[in-house]
């Protein structure tokens, strides 16, 4: 006894879930405003954008595909070093360098995924850490290319399109990073709302059910893993190109761990957790770790424990609850 109007209402409502909401314009409005209102903070802003992209890639693999990883920095670092090594050895065009870095990271993601995604749970978690540590060791020892412990120096980054030179005040870096973030976000958003993205959510929710409806689960997870690696690689390249430096920390457990912290603070699996968690974390870090790095470390750890205990959905989760 369903009137036609009810049927259409339900179907329309469901079919329109991916439509843009006004609220989604907020980060971009704020970012553009930041360019004009906070001219002293442009280099930090560029870093924030690149890190948002990195944490977004983590959200994709963790919050959507449900793969818990301690080694996302492997892809970030691969992208950073690829862009860095290219720029230090003559290939200084930034955009192609970025693309190459993302591609390289994607390849590493694909290969490592093929090996490690055969397992799940704790074994998989440990293997993500081992992969990242392997790459760290590789970068550490291949000093001729990577600069080893001292980091990669001598990077030369040409102006974008030959016109926009990277300046000391970060104007070009800010816009460049923002545009790349925008593109990455757009891709991520499309994926999340696509049938593929929905199937990822299904896999995360109930993998037995997914198999029982004929989904090639392993293939889907591998695809998600590789895409997330590409985005992470792009973010690494951004940092490398805008700071003209790549260090071993770009492959470190700390880098992966920080991404997890920022994501959980913002809220996992909601696409915008990165946009909330990263600025909060990085601005706080910029402030407090100067004052006393030990205190900062302690309270960030305590915050993580607190969030896991009391506010598992992060800031966005709390807002969702308030909304109801």
């Amino acid at each position: 006894m369903k009137p036609v109007a009810g049927r259409d209402a339900v179907i329309n409502s469901f079919a329109r879930r991916h439509h843009f909401r006004l609220l989604e314009a907020t980060p971009w409005v704020l970012a553009v405003a930041g360019y004009f209102l906070l001219p002293g903070y442009l280099p930090l802003g560029a870093q924030v954008f690149a890190t948002i992209l990195f944490v977004l890639s983590t959200d994709l693999v963790l919050g959507y595909a449900g793969i818990v990883t301690l080694g996302q920095a492997a892809f970030f670092g691969t992208g950073a070093y690829t862009a860095g090594i290219l720029a230090a050895n003559g290939w200084s065009e930034p955009i192609s360098g970025l693309v190459a870095a993302a591609a390289m990271a994607g390849v590493v993601g694909l290969l490592s995924g093929l090996i490690i995604l055969r397992t799940t749970g704790l074994a998989l978690l440990m293997q993500t850490l081992i992969v990242a540590t392997m790459l760290y060791e590789l970068a550490n020892k291949a000093g001729r290319w990577t600069g080893g412990d001292d980091g990669l120096q001598g990077m030369e980054v040409w102006p974008i399109f030959g016109v926009f030179r990277f300046d000391l005040f970060g104007h070009v870096a800010y816009v460049y990073s923002l545009v790349v973030l925008f593109l990455g976000w757009f891709v991520a958003r499309q994926i999340v709302h696509s049938p593929f993205g929905r199937s990822l959510t299904g896999t995360r929710e109930n993998v037995a059910r997914m198999r029982a409806i004929g989904a090639p689960v392993a293939r889907r997870l591998l695809t998600a893993y590789a895409i997330s690696a590409m985005l992470a690689g792009a973010s690494g390249a951004l940092i490398a190109q805008t700071t003209s430096f790549v260090g071993l920390t770009s492959l470190s457990l700390e880098r992966s761990g920080n991404a997890l912290i920022m994501l959980i603070i913002g809220g996992v699996g909601r696409l915008y957790g990165a946009f909330v968690g990263v600025p909060l974390f990085m601005i706080a870090q910029d402030r407090f770790s100067e004052i006393d790095p030990v205190y900062w470390y302690f309270w960030i750890g305590a915050l993580m424990v607190a969030v896991v205990l009391f506010a598992r959905g992060g800031v966005l989760g709390l807002l969702e609850r308030l909304w109801r």
Binding site: K2, G6, R7, V10, I11, S13, F14, A15, R16, R17, H18, H19, Q190, I191, H193, S194, P195, F196, G197, R198, S199, T201, G202, E205, N206, A208, R209, M210, R211, A212, I213, G214, A215, P216, V217, R220, T223
Partner: protein, 250 residues
């Protein structure tokens, strides 16, 4: 002899010394309403797991509509028209009821691997899912998360998801499990209305449902087929009564 919808020859599975399937020869005819019964621990769910590919056999073969599927992956068997429901609800609890079904249809249509078009664009899929829910009396719950529904209705969603795959062969693992006997009528009437072309194998303990739905019954005991025949014959069979003494649902 006409081609069977599903058949097994000498299907066996052992876990070390434990034989859960002992050379099972089984035949599901096209359009059948076939029940598999047996006491607890007989190996019925293991048999279904072997059929769907969740479990690999130690020996024997399985054919689906004439094609061998013994070593085919689970997802491939689904593509060939084999669908199942689970004894315990295995659904996407946090997702909408409607989405549970659209996910299945999207897999069937090969749409699920699309990366860059929004799922909402595939209106035909959403409409088909809604109509399917409506035919099962679930339309009003379409935009509710599965987890908030009463268990009995979740059981119906479980069947809806399987039907969304447009299977040729449907394996129902205790569809009435967990539902109080008074309410199993809803499940039964829904099962009676399933399209005649689908070949159905149903595992059940609820004898009421079995005798009202099934025309053929196979009795499985400790991994082996004890006896197989029409519903009337099985009801009369003394061996079956003996096996079920003290074990009957009603």
């Amino acid at each position: 002899m006409t081609e069977a919808a599903l058949e097994t020859h000498g299907l066996s599975k052992s876990f070390g010394a434990l034989r859960v399937a002992n050379g099972i020869d089984f035949r599901l005819e096209k359009g059948a309403r076939h029940a598999l019964i047996g006491p607890n621990g007989a190996g019925k769910t293991s048999f279904v797991n072997l059929l769907t590919g969740a479990l690999q056999p130690s020996d024997g073969t399985i054919h689906l509509n004439g094609a061998e599927i013994t070593h085919l992956a689970q997802s491939a068997r689904v593509k060939q028209g084999l669908a199942r429901t689970f004894q315990i609800n295995t659904l996407f609890r946090k997702l909408y009821v409607l989405e549970n079904v659209t996910l299945a249809i999207a897999e069937r249509e090969g749409v699920a691997r699309t990366l860059l078009r929004p799922a909402g664009h595939y209106r035909a899929i959403i409409e088909e899912a809604f109509d399917l829910l409506e035919s099962l009396g679930l339309a009003d719950a379409a935009l509710q998360p599965v987890g908030v529904l009463a268990y009995g209705r979740q059981r119906l969603v479980e069947i809806a998801v399987a039907l969304g795959l447009r299977p040729k062969v449907l394996l129902l693992d205790e569809p009435a499990a967990g539902i109080p006997s008074g309410e199993s009528g809803v499940i039964l009437s829904m099962l009676e209305r399933l399209p005649a072309e689908i070949s159905i194998l149903i595992i059940e303990h609820d004898m009421d449902l079995v005798f009202r739905l099934a025309t053929t019954i196979t009795v499985l005991v400790q991994g082996s087929v004890l006896v197989e025949g029409s519903a009337e014959a099985i009801a009369e069979d003394p061996r079956v009564r003996e096996v079920y003494l003290g074990d009957r649902k009603r």
